[in-house]
Amino acid sequence: MRRIISVLMENAPGSLSRIAGVFSQRGYNVDSLCVAPTSDDSLSRLTIITQADDKVTEQITKQVNKLIDVLRVAELSEAPHVERELMLIKVATRTEIARAEVNRNVDIFRARILDVTAQHYTIEITGTSDKLSAFAHVMGHCADITESARTGVCSLSRGDRALRP
């Protein structure tokens, strides 16, 4: 089952490798990992997407919580939450028709063209992981994908639930 695990931890050197260690050492898989300082820059927020049953999820949260640098851990997927991921995708278009098709799909998916050169469009799209994958799939049909980069999922609980220090 897909899980979203969110971690609030000290923004200190080595913290991230300790978290990564919990996963690699115990054989838990990581589908995506997104990490950056919070509005309080002494803290970092991590969002981890993993596939795990209830027992493994309980162990992951407990083992991560056990790390000295970690303040809070929550599984966001067990309650209402919002989630977003960002993708930059660069496509090469050779014909007018292809270019029109790319533009049309950018509108449909509410993506945004960030950069244009003679042969390339670089497009930004935000949404759920599924939406990003669907967009990449469509782009693959109307143009050549040169490269793409995704941030991994970033997520917050809805309402007054929050990870606070």
Binding site: M9, G14, G21, I68, D69
Partner: protein
Amino acid sequence: MRMMSGAAMVVEALKEVGVSHVFGYPGGAVLDIYDALFAQDDVKHILVRHEQGAAHMADGYARATGRTGTVLVTSGPGATNTLTGIATAYMDSVPMVVLSGQVPSMHIGEDAFQETDMVGCSRPIVKHSFLVKKTTDIPMAIAKAYYIANTGRPGPVVVDLPKDLVNVQDKHPYVFPDDVTMRSYNPTVKGHSKQITKAVACMLSAKRPVIYVGGGAIIAEADGLVTQLAEKLNAPVTCTLMGLGAFSGVHEQFVGMLGMHGLLEANKSMHNADCIVALGARFDDRVTNNVDKFCPHADIIHVDIDPASISKILKAHIPVVGSVDVVCKQFLDRMEDVDTEAQKEKLKDWWAQINEWRARKCLDYKQGAEVIKPQRVIEAVYKHTKGDAYISSDVGQHQMFAALYYPFAKPRRWINSGGLGTMGFGLPAAMGVQFAFPDACSVVITGDGSIQMNIQELSTCLQYNLPIKVISLNNRALGMVRQWQDMNYKGRHSCSYMDSMPDFVKLAEAYGHIGIQVDKLDQLDEAMERCFAEKNRLVFMDILVDQNEHVYPMQIKYGAMDDIRLSKTERT
């Protein structure tokens, strides 16, 4: 504000946290710290012969006292040599701080001479680690390291100190922190009151309860409270290999060690229990046997300070996060009007059943006329130390014989590597014990294989006059390996025989100690007498024991707790 060098800060901070002994070995990256150590007498430095030995000494010191053990080593090989010792401490939750030198900050990452990423190498086997970045951070890093090592579930902490930060010339302001509390680290010690209520109800309604005590009870110094709880309930008590001594081995409610080499009555009680009260134990695979067949009738109450230990292996019906001492006190507070006599009446049938299992006398063995049985040696050690020694052990058959045939009446007397099973642990651990308690009787029970893994420390023993008693059960074999080969590999003894054994008596003498060899039963008592009469000398007893002896009882692989082999020919 006092100005001092980084090296002086290290020593000053160690004094501040109350360190009595540092076990270490010098080298380039820590020469400045060694220079600062030279200038004072408060912190005693013990020069070992191998850094692994230093880590095990600090470990033995910590297990015997409850105080944090301290190690000081140089960068690169000095640091990596401690890793087995760190892992050993980590697995058994032993408080330890390892101060490792590091190459100068500006050379980190350049593959400089004797550079290793110690923080990286040790990451999976430490509770926490610090790579110090500024000289003025040294006191805080050390203060936090000791705080983390010995609070919550204890464990080893590494403090990596780049050489440029500790140089003796540059002086910086020294401020030792008043407060080291961390917003991200607050171990829970008190059990949740709802869980306490549920647990007490479960214990009181049980008809076949068992109290299953692990190393956590010793760490929490909860032996007195565990005993009160057990007596209040009149419940049988079993201890894990790590928990021996948390409940007296000579108490009438003690049913012995449980698990792979546990007593029949202990494993039978567990298997038939309707309520298991796990106190600071972690349902290790060496305890549970096949988890799918584990204790089918029992409600499990699991008390542990580490939430991650609860429901890791087996789902606890009533989890209680907290320190064993505090939680036992909470249990007892709710049991004030429990009538122990009524409990006795209620558990009468249960005890009748247990006494039937006890009557099988599963520890009986056949001692012949001449060849010494290893069990007999342990009984002799018990007799000659009046059961009051600190027994450190190595790993193998001798370890299990010691655990089974030397009843421990007090906590912190049984010092062994239970979690990692580190051969070579025993001698240095016994040295750590002897440094902590110079007047105590510190014994190491070892084997001909294990002793050779850190035998160089016999030299350290001479330097510091440690009158340790080394009892080596010499079976000319890696006995435990051999036993498994007998049982599972049709007796094919692949590489478990030790050819060309050294002459241990001469070896002991070469190191400046007394060596005694015993190979006949009728010499055993007299030799033991001589050994323990030598109050001021280390004595190495090379005791030739039966090579073909197996450790029994032994659980049958993939079976339940009570599927047990009782001898080479009998099983349950």
